[in-house]
């Protein structure tokens, strides 16, 4: 009996008992899933700040959550709060404000933003320098800015609200952060350190400077019109990613404890794989080895062979480089079968939710399994002859999906892959 509660490696199985989601498609799993499988896009023209003079004027922002101006960490906190509320509510674990497990959060880097600096600069009539700002700060009349722009604050507030236990982790592995948050929860449960983990990815950092920074790296699509057609992963005319915002949360539990309390089991995190890449700060190794190894490690960790995977939830950013590299790496891992193995990119609809992406796509992967329906890659009109894959073009497809591998790759040589399933291996 006890062996049923452990995986092929003898470790505690990790079940998913709650999930929550907010993206530019809407709030909650139901809304998001309906629109995602209808092939709808959440990408729109930016109204949060003036876009005059910018090469990219579109994004998948999550709007209408605040009545007043807000800073990026405040939106990241709000998105995390909404997603976690849905996930913890579904899991029905612990009492309100007393979550019996640890918190692992993927949060975007923060720093003092322009509006706050302008407030500090307003004290002086002369040319502004950091000494001007320091002199204004020394009055200690803007203490709230300090906490707001500490890196640990978003997780702090989530920990306080949900009553998670222990020292909350705020982490970044760039665009694979959301997947790393889940991986860390899995590891803590496997170590027996905690019976439950609240794993969150959140990103609400579409503001002018963030957009301009990515723009200066030529990473963003400039197909501004119409906005919903800009993100076109795996297409020949793909020209960059579209920034998105979102929050996603998963409640992970040891299978033993979830079963003992009679919780509804939504599925399992079967395996996690990761590999570093020392090739370049923004580009991946030309041979694709790190991505290949990350996928292989995730499969091995799950105790599965490539043939056991029914669907690849792609990183699929819509940049020329990523999609080519990902297709090549998947072909190396899955062999000739890759031409018929469905692979699709949620980012064609919600954009690249950056820090949150790995968690957002984990929830979509689980919904794919639960609903037996594969979300499409939209805007697929010009196939790339170098990517001869079944990208589930434009229209969702009904299919029995028992096991999914979800890929996340990031700047700085970050590669993290997760394997989800409907049942233990």
């Amino acid at each position: 009996m006890t062996t049923d509660l452990r995986d092929a490696h003898g470790r505690p199985l990790v079940a998913i008992t709650g999930m929550g989601l907010v993206t530019s498609l809407g709030q909650g799993k139901a809304d998001n899933w309906a629109r995602l499988t209808a092939g709808q896009s959440g990408i729109h023209r930016i109204t949060r700040f003036p876009v005059e003079g910018l090469r990219t004027t579109i994004a998948g922002t999550v709007d209408d959550l605040f009545n007043e101006p807000f800073a990026a960490p405040e939106l990241s906190e709000k998105l995390a709060m909404l997603a976690a509320d849905e996930a913890v509510g579904q899991a029905g674990l612990g009492r309100k404000g007393d979550f019996p497990g640890q918190l692992f959060m993927a949060v975007p880097p923060v720093e003092l933003e322009w509006p706050q600096k302008q407030v500090l600069a307003s004290a002086s009539n002369e040319a502004v320098s950091y000494d001007t700002l320091l002199a204004a700060a020394a009055a200690h009349t803007h203490r709230a800015y300090h906490a707001m722009f500490l890196f640990g604050t978003v997780a702090d507030r989530i920990a306080d609200h949900f009553g998670t236990k222990g020292s909350p982790i705020s982490l970044s592995t760039a665009c694979s952060s959301g997947a790393t948050a889940i991986q860390m929860g899995v590891e803590a449960i496997r170590r027996g350190e905690t019976e439950a983990a609240l794993c969150i990815g959140t990103d609400g950092s579409v503001h002018a400077e963030a957009l301009i920074r990515f723009s200066l790296l030529s990473a963003l699509s400039t197909h501004n019109d119409p906005p919903e057609e800009a993100s076109k992963p795996f297409s020949k005319n793909r020209d960059g990613f579209v920034m998105g915002e979102g929050g996603a949360a998963l409640v992970l539990e040891s299978y033993a404890s979830a079963r003992a309390r009679g919780a509804e089991i939504l599925g399992f995190v079967l395996g996690c794989g990761e590999k570093g890449d020392g090739f370049h700060r923004t580009r991946s190794s030309p041979d694709g080895r790190p991505a290949i190894v990350a996928m292989q490690e995730a499969l091995a960790d799950a105790g599965l062979e490539p043939d056991h995977i029914d669907y690849v939830n792609a990183h699929g950013t819509s940049t020329p480089e990523n999609d080519k590299m990902e297709a090549m790496s998947c072909t190396a891992v899955f062999g000739p079968r890759m031409t018929t193995l469905p692979i699709s990119s949620n980012k064609s609809m919600v954009g690249h939710t950056l820090t949150a992406a790995g968690a957002v796509e984990a929830v979509f992967s689980m919904l794919t399994i639960a609903n037996g329906r594969i979300p499409p890659t939209i805007n697929y009109r010009e196939p790339d002859p170098n990517i001869p894959l079944d990208v589930v073009p434009n229209v969702a497809r009904d299919a029995r999906v028992r096991r999914v591998i979800s890929n996340s790759f990031g700047f700085g040589g970050q590669n993290t892959c997760l394997v989800f399933g409907d049942a233990p291996v």
């Binding site: 502004v128 300090h146 890196f151 222990g166 705020s170 170590r191 570093g276 040589g413």
Partner: protein
């Protein structure tokens, strides 16, 4: 938990330079701290000592692509790899996991000042901001600012191609980095982990963030555990601190020199109310063996209230003793403070200073942690 965790590599770069012996001498009171009270007056800082970057970061192009906080960290990570004897071991570096505690990169201070000046009279501030940012931001500056790009640069410069994770969250990121690295090795989830962080104190943007919260000392620093309320605060220091942790089996198999054992690491975060820090540390102490003659090494930030609470908790296990404040030697290094304190404790044990050490870390705003070490 099954595996014994040992420290086989230390890298420290600070105002005292990169020589471990210099840091040990300072801890013994045989060498004074280096403090710059002029450049950022009224805020004293411990500036980075003279360092020949080429020794750990041979390519100028790599040096150029990084900001100081990254160069400090990459340099210290290289020292740790050298110390562990794996710098030239491509196979070990391909399996080496990395956990970095990091904040963010620095602003272009001149550009920010010009833009803020211009914004005051701009007819359309939003459009002005767009124009100036597009024109004035260096494209590569972004990569020097991203938190996880310290790990990325360690990977590129030192050829460490195992996976990396970056923890954020000020001092507690450093505590959790060491705690999670220890837990993963103890549980057999990894054999060898490079863990640490870096902080560049010579930045007005960071002084600004901490001054907003009233967390900085102004004027002449007094010793951390004698700092009085009203005259207290952080004196920050530029520090890079990395450790190579590995299982005792792994160290033995490759014949590595063991500097110290890392016996236990704990961390918690409590709401900051009166007495909360003392309670948190007291609870955590139950998981640590503290010898009566062991060293007490503290990563205290320099705030009087938290320091008093930290001392109250430690007094229960080591009555009448004042911890060695690493901040008094090299400055408070935020994310790198706890890794630096653990590194210094390991160096002191390795130098025969004592048979065990307890390292405490209390964040200036959040987080409390402990590590206990024993001599190899």
């Amino acid at each position: 938990m099954t595996n014994t965790v040992v420290i086989t590599g230390i890298g420290l770069l600070s105002s005292l330079g990169e020589d471990i012996a210099a840091h040990v001498d300072a801890a013994r009171g045989q060498r004074g701290a280096v403090i710059d009270r002029e450049t950022f007056a009224p805020y004293p800082v411990h500036p980075l000592g003279a360092v020949e970057l080429d020794r750990q970061i041979p390519k100028k192009s790599d040096q150029r692509q990084m900001e100081p906080w990254q160069r400090i960290g990459v340099y210290a990570a290289g020292l740790a790899l050298d110390s562990a004897g794996i710098k030239g071991d491509a196979d070990a570096k391909d399996r080496l996991h990395v956990i970095v505690a990091a904040g963010g990169g620095e602003r272009d201070h001149a550009v920010d000042g010009q833009i803020l000046t211009g914004l005051k009279s701009a007819a359309n501030p939003g459009v002005f901001l767009n124009e100036r940012l597009l024109g004035d931001l260096r494209p590569t500056l972004f990569l020097a600012q991203l938190s996880n790009l310290l790990a990325g640069n360690i990977s590129i410069v030192h050829g460490v191609t195992g996976p990396s994770r970056t923890f954020m969250g000020e001092e507690q990121a450093g505590v959790d980095a060491v705690r999670v690295a220890h837990a993963r090795i103890a549980a057999g989830q990894a054999d060898m982990i490079l863990v640490g962080g870096s902080y560049n104190a010579e930045r007005r943007d960071m002084l600004l963030l901490f001054e907003l919260g009233g967390a900085l000392l102004k004027g002449v620093p007094t010793p951390t555990f004698r700092r009085l309320p009203g005259q207290d605060g952080m004196v920050t220091g530029s520090v890079g601190a990395f450790l190579v942790l590995e299982s005792a089996q792994s160290a033995a198999a490759r014949g590595a020199r063991v500097l110290a054992r890392l016996d236990a690491v704990s961390a918690d975060r409590v709401r900051r109310e009166d007495g909360a820090i003392t309670r948190s540390l007291t609870e955590q102490l139950a998981g640590h063996h503290v010898a009566p003659d062991g060293l007490l090494v503290s990563a205290a930030p320099g705030l009087a209230g938290p320091a008093a609470e930290e001392q109250a908790a430690l007094a229960a296990v080591a009555p009448g003793r004042t911890p060695l404040a690493v901040g008094d030697l090299v400055g408070h290094a935020i994310e790198a403070a706890f890794p630096a304190a653990v590194a210094l404790a390991a160096a002191l044990l390795s130098a025969g200073e004592a048979s065990s050490a307890l390292v405490s870390g209390v964040g200036h705003h959040r987080g409390e942690g402990l590590a206990s070490l024993s001599a190899a």
